[in-house]
């Protein structure tokens, strides 16, 4: 049975192979931080260590029916450990852009999926970006958060973080100063990440717990913007006890962001290939 003649097959092979070779010569490429942030650094007498503040990151989406489960465990953790938990809801659910026009997906949250995951199921919870299951995966199911938090909040931190904000409501310009102070020496590569979150956003959410779409769902801790690169800016000096860094950021808030409900979050974390662990985290309201 000859379906193809020799000549036709030859052409097909050539066309196929050439298509294979050159079908995608251009590529967008991964996110690389190609800018540097100025900083001031010096050594001082090490101060006493702050209590550990835990960062919970929640990969979520408005079109994700199970994602409100993640919102619930985050709210529980904040209630159970006041002042010791900082949360970021990172919208990167693939269907969100098709679901709501004013979606909360950010390019940085999408990049974080590559940096911390990639995950294949939402919601995905990241607690201090640690691998608690020793399975090579950083993400956890919502039902595991409570037990992990009970241990995580008792740990100490080798870094103190301070945030000082100045906000002009007229110009909507935010000036943020982040001070990082090492209280113990750290040998791993460390980055500082600084982001803006907004709470109290009213927008639709598909919620299996509510039996379908909730039009006026209140979204809290929504990641709006990283003031650093999404994977942080390098803390490049030898990070001995007493090492201090001072970073300053200026950003004009868009009109549709409610500054009254916004927070600056800063956290220091490992940036080694085998560890992204968050060493310390801090949060301060934009107007404070």
């Amino acid at each position: 049975m000859k379906i193809l003649s020799n000549n036709n097959l030859t052409r097909l092979l050539f066309a196929g192979s050439i298509f294979f070779m050159f079908s995608a010569c251009e590529e967008v490429g991964p996110a690389i931080n190609l800018t540097d942030t100025d900083y001031v650094t010096y050594l001082e007498t090490p101060e006493a260590a702050q209590d550990k503040v835990v960062l919970i990151e929640d990969f979520t989406g408005a079109a994700c029916p199970n994602c409100p489960d993640g919102h619930i465990v985050v709210a529980d953790a904040i209630e159970n450990y006041p002042g010791k938990v900082v949360a970021m809801a990172e919208f990167n659910f693939p269907s969100d852009p098709l679901y709501i026009e004013q979606n909360m997906v950010t390019s940085e949250a999408l990049d974080l999926n590559g940096y911390l995951g990639p995950v294949s199921a939402w919601p995905a919870m990241f607690i201090d970006r640690k691998d608690f299951g020793a399975d090579g995966e950083l993400e956890e199911l919502p039902e595991n958060v409570a037990s992990i938090m009970a241990t995580q909040v008792t740990l100490s931190s080798p870094v103190n973080i301070y945030i000082e904000n100045t906000y002009d409501a007229v110009t909507r310009i935010l000036n943020t100063k982040v001070i990082v102070k090492y209280t113990s020496a750290i040998a791993s590569i460390n980055n500082l990440s600084v982001s803006l979150t907004e709470s109290g956003i009213v927008a639709a959410q598909i919620d299996d717990n509510a039996g379908g779409e909730v039009e006026d769902y209140i979204h809290n801790h929504v990641l709006r913007k990283f003031l650093t690169f999404f994977s942080g800016d390098l803390l490049p000096e030898e990070n001995t006890a007493g090492r201090v860094y001072e970073f300053e950021y200026t950003y004009t808030l868009p009109e549709n962001w409610n500054a009254d409900n916004m927070y600056v979050i800063a956290f220091v974390h490992n940036n080694d290939t085998d560890s992204r662990e968050v060493l310390q985290c801090a949060e301060r309201k934009v107007g404070e």
Binding site: Y115, N191, L234
Partner: protein
């Protein structure tokens, strides 16, 4: 895997039912027993401390039916605390190491499974197996081969590179067109070719790369590429007694590790050419071959996260003479992927039957740095009842670069050697090797002797000793001796070898790696059926 075996079994059975085919195979089995010897550095690893033995083997079976154009094969691999892949680190696993099935349909051949393939000389792509070094770089995927006519062939393939019993995550696709242009004058022939390969990184590998790059100083950061494209154009031109091969290969820029292990964004190239002349008009035969290779950042791996001999998709062997005698093979030049300028000239002259002169000169440099130089000459005389080989070798070897040993001087050796094979009768023969290596660096000077007695076709016995009689790294003048017995029965060969082996670069087929010292007993078996 059960499904795969089922399909192959079905092919064997159906083919057996419908046509006559041939079934063949082979088994290679090696066992090593470790005996700690701290004087030569053979100690302190799990094998010497606790495990005491290791074994590894391959059982290959093939079925071929020319009537239906079907070919299939399956190979069972076993590694029990194997020292093969990463010397010093035991590895244990077993399973199907290779399977493939191939069907020919007129001028088209389709193959699926683990595929060994080569484009050109292998500079752009060569999936191959080198068991002594633990290399099995098969492609797990599909290949289509089509004969355009009797002189031109196109091959297209795609898949992932094998990684022991799993696969490296990046994917590959590529193709080659190779041909032969006959001329009316049969004394001139042209054999051109063209090949391409495209490797696409997976997200996990890219995440590691991105994490590394983002930790660098700003001026060292760059946006890495998921895709690497490489291609080469090559041709063999033969005019009477001359043959000229030339290949030029280019690859697109991607993240590769520089000499310090930092990722850099570099493109690469290789220029390789060889010119040979051979004639029977001078004496009883004369031949000369010159080879030149210029390598610039030619690192072809599945990803820059792979190290040592892992994840290679090409074949870039050493461009120096592959010596077989023990001391002449002591210092060998590993191909320098990041950059080398290498050339060698080899001449062979046979003034009359039974007499043969060989001379070889090779040199490798990198920028202004001398890496390797070898001059080796030998004379071989063959008579009905004996064969005599006499020769000498001079080597300059950059140990700092090849063995990554800082502050080591250039190793300079002078090595005269002799080998005599004497036939007592049609079945009984003796082979004697004598080598001396004068060296004022590294381990110092050596003497090597070997006596081998063969009773054809079954028995072989050998005693050898490599004596570090002027030691520079040890207080004592150590002996590295070996006692060997081999027995052949029909198509099976069994060997036993008690060995003291010095640490050093070991090369097979021009591919090299560092191996630690060995002390103990090696038992081996090879059989074909």
């Amino acid at each position: 895997m059960r499904k795969i075996l089922g399909v192959l079994l079905l092919v064997f059975c159906l083919s057996g039912a419908y046509g006559q085919g041939s079934f063949s195979g082979d088994l290679q089995l090696n066992t090593e027993f470790y005996q700690s010897d701290s004087s030569i550095g053979a100690t302190g690893t799990p094998h010497y401390d606790d495990l005491l033995s290791s074994a590894y083997g391959w059982l290959s079976t093939f079925y071929r039916n020319d009537q239906y154009g079907i070919e299939a094969g399956v190979r069972f691999d076993m590694f029990n605390n194997s020292n093969l892949h990463d010397p010093g680190i035991p590895y244990t696993d077993a399973g199907i190491g290779r399977w493939y099935i191939s069907k020919k349909i007129d001028a088209l051949r389709i193959t699926g499974g683990h595929i060994y393939e080569q484009f050109g000389t292998g500079i752009v792509y060569w999936s191959y197996e080198e068991r002594p070094l633990g290399i099995d770089n098969a492609l797990y995927g599909l290949e289509i081969e089509y004969a355009l006519n009797e002189n031109w062939t196109v091959k297209v393939l795609g898949g992932q590179m094998k990684n022991l019993f799993s696969r490296f995550d990046p994917v590959l696709k590529g193709g080659t067109v190779e041909g032969f242009i006959p001329t009316k004058n049969q004394q001139i022939t042209v054999a051109p070719g063209l090949s391409f390969i495209n490797r696409t990184l997976d997200q996990d590998n890219m995440n590691i790369i991105v994490g590394q790059i983002n930790s660098y100083e700003l001026e060292d950061r760059f946006v890495p590429k998921y895709n690497m494209y490489a291609g080469s154009i090559f041709n063999t031109l033969t005019i009477k007694d001359f043959s000229w091969y030339a290949e030029y290969a280019l690859k697109s820029h991607e993240a590769i590790n520089d000499i310090s292990g930092q990722l850099v964004d570099e493109n690469g190239s290789v220029i390789y050419t060889s010119l040979s002349y051979s004639t029977s008009k001078i004496g009883n035969g004369f031949g000369v071959t010159g080879q030149l290779r210029i390598v610039d950042n030619w690192v072809m791996r599945t990803s820059p996260n792979e190290t040592l001999l892992d994840g290679f998709i090409d074949y870039l062997p050493s461009l120096t003479k592959q010596n077989s005698l023990r001391l002449t093979a002591r210092y060998q030049a590993v191909a320098q992927q990041l950059g080398e300028f290498a050339y060698q000239i080899n001449a062979t002259f046979t003034p009359k039957k039974g007499y043969n002169f060989n001379a070889n000169f090779s040199k490798i440099t990198n920028d202004s740095l001398d890496l390797f130089q070898e001059i080796i000459v030998d004379f071989e005389m063959r008579k009905p009842n004996y064969k005599l080989l006499l020769g000498g070798q001079l080597i300059n070897y950059n140990q700092e670069v090849f063995e990554n040993e800082p502050d080591r001087p250039i190793v300079k050796t002078i090595t005269p050697f002799a080998e005599l094979t004497y036939k007592f009768s049609r079945k009984k023969s003796m082979r004697v090797e004598l080598q001396y290596q004068n060296c004022k660096q590294d381990f110092g000077s050596w003497v090597y002797g070997l006596v081998e007695y063969n009773i054809a076709p079954k028995w072989s016995f050998a005693l050898s000793d490599m004596w570090n009689y002027e030691p520079l790294r040890t207080e004592e003048a150590l002996h590295y001796y070996s006692v060997f017995t081999g027995y052949t029965h029909k198509s099976s060969r069994f060997t036993l070898n008690y060995v003291k082996q010095i640490a050093g670069i070991v090369c097979t087929g021009g591919v090299c790696r560092f191996e630690p010292a060995f002390s103990g007993l090696k038992a081996g078996m090879i059989t074909t059926f």
